[in-house]
Amino acid sequence: MLRLTDVGKSFGGAQAVAAASFSVVEGELVCLLGPSGCGKSTLLRMIAGLTEPDTGVIEIAGQDVTTLPANRRPTAMVFQSHALWNHMTVERNVSFGLRVRGLPRTEIADRVAAALDLVGLSRFGSRRPAELSGGQAQRVALARCLVVQPKVLLMDEPFSALDAHLRANLREELKALQRRLTLTVIFVTHDQEEAMELADRIVVMDSGRIEQIGRPNELYLEPQSLTVARFIGQTNICETTIAGGRADWFGARLLTQCADGPATILSRPEDLVPASNGAPARVDRVTDLGPMLRLHLTTDDGGQLVWLCPRSSAPQTGSRVSLVPGRLQVYRNGERIGTAEAARPSTAHARTLA
């Protein structure tokens, strides 16, 4: 449905987007995720036609639209600021795109009513945008785009100005609507939780470059770079050296297939498990998250660890534990080079246990 090939853009010498390439199939919801200033909004604006790319080709439904202005592209965009026109009623706002297309009045009325019904605002047609709440305004903005039946719906951080509870509701509504109408959506966000929840696939961006494209679980379980790993979810980071297939992890021994040399080893807080041959550490602080507890630990060699552990088995602040990571990713020069696993307890030790 949408294909980008080497799309790039610079602003006065600063590279905003560098050679971005990816494609989106029909009915897919893809999130562009990254910290602010990473170029995700610029990329979205280039897809919309509001910003002209310096290089590359943008195709929508097989047609090259790279040189088409925004008003002639089959896209519609929902803005962060909802961008409703205060001098028009909700109805006039929603019907704008249809009036521009010169459709017959009866058809416009029908389609506007259907679009407002879709976002649950049938009774708000005669209101002014100033009389709506933030969530309602954003729904109207969505209806205004849906009514023109765009091939690709673009959303630029549409929920980021709303409070957390409302944001979660709207996310669910959007996801349901997208499934029901099989909409093709590009959704820009800096909130990794939002991306994980909404997206079929996530495009992680940093400093104008695409770091990784993948399904949410792929990005979480096997982040291809340190940047992605740090951006998605919490991580425990250990700088170490691999020698002869072995590495030291805060005092615990790891086995790995990776080549010898310096390495950065990442593990997720929920993947730590207590083990007799683990890294010795002391519990500094316990944060109650409700279903889980988050423990901040200091290892005996001075490293910092975060451990998410079930309420039932949680140790007290100040107590000593011994942990190994159940799942590990190994990085060198920022790129993922493989995995590692904790060494089994030594045979001598195992024998005494037996």
């Binding site: 925004a70 008003n71 026109w85 521009v100 903005a141 023109v148």
Partner: protein, 238 residues
Amino acid sequence: MTARPPIAGMLIALTMVLVILGPILTVMIWAFAEQWRYPNLLPTDWGLKFWYQMLGRETVITPILTSLAITSISTTLVAVICWPAAYAFARLSFPGRQLLLFSFLAINAVPKFTLFVAIATVFLQIGLIGTFWGVVIVQMLSAMLFMIWIPTAAFRGIPPALEEAAFDLGASRLRVFLQVTMPQALPALAASYVLGFVTILLRWNRPCWLARPRSRRCRFCCCSFPRSLSSSRRPSCA
């Protein structure tokens, strides 16, 4: 603590109303008074006698109409030229933008006389001296400042996303400007038009210096109508 009626606030409001509306009210009453002498609070004779006298004179009605025509045409022309220019100042970035914007202030910064001497030289060469359009062009200068600066600020205050949303939904640039940008900026544009109109209407001294020595505009006749006034402010070319 119980809420007291805001007596101080009401007193201030009342004073403001008296100070602002009082003089206007007096003028309104005088306009329809035929006889109003001291101890009477209101005129003893009402009527339109002075209106007939004033408007009955050919030397009054023609200048008024000329004045209004010149002012309307000048203001509208300035609006047509300056509003799109203001939009460009607000939205586009081009070399020399700030300098150009400040140059409109410069019209009011230099002594007018030197400016008009220069303009008169040009007008003489192209034969505009003493013509209707010569006056219109000179008068347009007076309103440029308001018609550029106020709309520029207004257009800057409109979030670009509002225009982008309309453009994105398929509207042409012109349609976006007419249906989204203009309505949003309308209060400011109207204010700039009124200010421009009033400025042109009151700048009666400019054209008499160079453009139309024999022209009789409204302000001249107002000054010359009561003879006593004309001696203190002699309209040299009326």
